[in-house]
Amino acid sequence: MSAFLKLLFRNRLAGAGAVVLAIIVVLVLLTPVLPLQPPNVTDTADRFLRPFSEGHLLGTDHLGRDLLSRLLWGTRLSLAVGFAAAIVAAVLGAAVGIIAGYFGGRIDNTIMRGIDMLMAFPYILLALAIVAALGPGLMNALIAVAAVNIPFFARNIRGITVGLAGKEFVDAARLAGLGHGRILLFELLPNVVPVIVIAMSTTIGWMILETAGLSFLGLGSQPPQADLGSMLGEARSAMITAPHTSVVPGAMILLIVMSINLLGDGVRDALDPRLKSGALSRPMAATLVERERVPEARGEGLLDIQELQTQFHVGRRIYRAVDGVSLTLEPGESLGIIGESGSGKSVTALSVMGLVASPPGVITGGAARYKGQDLIGAKYPRLRSLRGDRIAYIFQDPLSTLHPLYRVGDQLAEAILSHHSVSKAEAMQRAVGLLEDVRIPNAENRARAYPHELSGGMRQRVGIAMALANEPDIIIADEPTTALDVTVQAQILALLDDLRRDRGLAILFITHDFGVVGQLCDRVAVMYAGRIVEEGPTAEVLDDPAHPYTARLIACVPELGQGRREMAAIPGLPPAVDNLPEGCAFAPRCDKATPACRAGDIPLAGTERRRVRCIHPETDVEAVA
């Protein structure tokens, strides 16, 4: 509770709303004992006195009545009526909702049909019809406003109840022989009360406004009784000559409704766990870069990643997702990065083109040089012109990575149009050609399909076609086959391999599957907890792994057609990258670990060809070379 209040008041606006509302409520409760003038005593000699007149702090109205006194009494009435309407609507709406949700079937159907009908009215029409039938008056306005809000509560509560009605505790109560009435009252009701309260807090401001509105129209409170709405309505005729008589009650309504809204927003935000974690932030066009120093260019490879550090800053916590990764990719080469989920392999790949979601992602060090120029520090326009043109990406799940509302042909054409000034028709023609290149039959027709109309394998072919659209030098494939079944996976890998050989593409292939690496990659780098633990030619690493982690990882892969090999799952979990142990991050899960493994930094040692970050390697990497 105190954590909730702390969160609530950290939101300054919500805090202000709470304070203002509290002051108003206290004033209103004290109104009968405050030294105020009687609100209904008229004094025509002192009509329309301006605010700050003697004896009348806020002046007087058209009948010479004290405005301050009328304001407080009116506020009292408005709040009471609004609150009463909210209670009535909540109680009746919740009753209807619980009954519909609990009994289900035909009862539910009939009730909800009725609710839908009520919701088909613009709300005020219903309220006006009710007032028309019952006649003007504050009580009738209250009934009308409450009635109009019943459907809202009924719907919300029904939804919750439907979920609860299937739960074990309700079945248990039924088996224990409890009647429907007792189950509704003692089992279900306590569970929906919080929802009712939240729904009330979001609508009460609105109900106060609506009752004030009906009074303003002359359909609510009748003279001499006055709530804020009827005060405003009466003041309207003198609006030009004595505007303060309008401004006083109007501003009060605004103040009440606004403070309730601010408070309601604050409550909702404080209860929403996503806001705390920063998950409601939208990623910017490029990842934030905060580097202290930039490593010297080595002048190696087509793409040279040096000491890359990418972190996630969430609140005060820092997750070191990528912690000093260096990799080189030569033209036409296929390099695999392998690791468990959370090892930082995807973040490494996304950092190259500034595609790590930011916030919370920050690149805090290192460089990624394409043909010698650093991409990490590049300005956005430069980065954009290279994205998809020279360095293209293929992502994991093509259903979520393709835009669901655009035809695939248009999405392909857009990739071309973003980098080439050709006509739309020509871009479309090329798009069809690309679909043919990735062996999609009947490409002309398929170009007009939406992503949801294609199979998973077809969608991934579209994803590949999109990466090929501008004939890039490098393709970064982030687990492109993980979401696909095995036969489709094999087809996609074969396709990528062919394309690579035909076009001399360099591929950076992110995966957690050694089988895939063996099929496609010349070299492989193994990542664990944000660092590379082993690197070398694929065949050598597969046949003769040096790092115990690599060895265990390979042992996890069952081989087809070789019978069941022992499945040695790695005990324990990968470490959380916000709290890494000193020394080797794998030590806690490693059966060769010694005290030396848990102290000091262990370097990635070996030759240019093969390197390992381990002081007890399974094999001597320098001897292999």
């Binding site: 009725g114 006006l128 609006m239 309008s246 066009a285 835009h403 509302l405 973003s418 949801h452 999109m466």
Partner: protein
């Protein structure tokens, strides 16, 4: 597509019937003798008697409903005793003025609201976002009738820029520029609340969409950021914005009642309030049924727009 529209139209039939039933039931709440309520307390007993027979009030309830519904379907909603003319004629006359006002407001709040939401989301936590968020909080909290009065005070009385009330100038006028001059203030005052609600919702819808994988794909292929926001993200966000536009249309119609009173706009809302105060029950009944029916039809349009936007909806 065509079959989808037909399907939606057919599904509206029970809703429309439900609306008539609800209005009929509410009117049955009227205490005492309905004919007396309709004719007022000074009516002669013979007139009450005649009206009772005319309205079929000597029949059982369910039969009364069908008689009333039958008349309704033939366009006969009875006569307004206060205005002494057929209810339908009066309602249709007034409805045009409301459509001009509410329609303009709706277009305004949809455009401004979505614009504010998109800018706010694209500049999350920036200056523009904070300014818009603050304006939205005030916007959704201000009572439309109070806002209208303050606007009249400022723009009509103090500054004298715009006419304070009415739809046309009394002398001269009557042309389009005259209408527009009279329309600006009420339309703006009416759109403020809905603009705030739509703006707030558009912002969160955009934030939700901007986190999606397909936005990253668009950026990865080098699409300009402007196009990422205004094409890729907005298009996807519209899927959740459009249903809210439908709901807000109801709020605009509701707010129009207040605005028509404040600005003396000769629309159906003012007609309803006047009719209630005069106890002109048949006029209230007719006005409510016509406006509610139009609102239902409008929501079908919204659904059709939604299905055009989102190919995943089965048409």
């Amino acid at each position: 597509m065509g079959s989808y529209i037909v399907k939606r139209l057919l599904s509206a039939v029970p809703v429309l019937l439900g609306i008539t039933l609800i209005v009929f039931l509410i009117m049955a709440l009227i205490p005492g003798d309905p004919a007396t309520a309709i004719l007022g307390s000074y009516a002669t007993p013979e007139n009450v008697e005649r009206l009772n027979r005319q309205l079929g009030l000597d029949e059982p309830m369910w039969k009364q409903y069908f008689i009333w519904l039958g008349n309704l379907l033939q366009g006969d909603m009875g006569r307004s005793f206060a205005l002494n003319r057929p209810v339908l004629d009066e309602v249709l006359d007034r409805f045009g003025a409301t459509l001009v006002l509410a329609g303009t407001s709706f277009v305004l709040c949809a455009l401004l609201g979505v614009l504010a939401g998109v800018v706010s989301a694209a500049r999350q936590y920036g200056l523009a976002d904070k300014a818009i968020t603050f304006a939205v909080i005030i916007g959704i909290s201000v009572p439309p009738f109070f806002l209208g009065m303050m606007m009249i005070l400022l723009f009509a009385v103090r500054l004298g820029w715009l006419p304070a009330s009415g739809m046309y100038a009394i002398y001269g006028g009557g042309d389009l520029p005259d209408l527009l001059r009279h329309l600006i203030m009420p339309a703006l005052a009416l759109s403020v609340v809905a603009t705030g609600v739509i703006g707030r919702l558009s912002r969160s819808a955009m934030l939700e969409v901007l986190r999606q994988d397909f936005i990253r794909t668009a950026r990865a292929k080098g699409v300009h950021e402007r196009s990422v926001i205004w094409r890729h993200a907005l298009r996807a966000a519209m899927v959740s914005i459009i249903p809210v536009l439908g709901i807000q249309a109801g709020f605009v119609i509701s707010g129009a009642v207040y605005i028509e009173i404040v600005f003396q706009w000769p629309g159906v809302g003012r007609m309803l309030v006047d009719a209630i105060l005069r106890r002109d029950i048949l006029l209230v009944q007719g006005g409510v049924v016509v406006v509610a029916a139009c609102y239902v039809m409008f929501n079908i349009l919204v659904d059709v727009a939604q299905s055009l936007l989102d190919p995943r909806i089965k048409t």
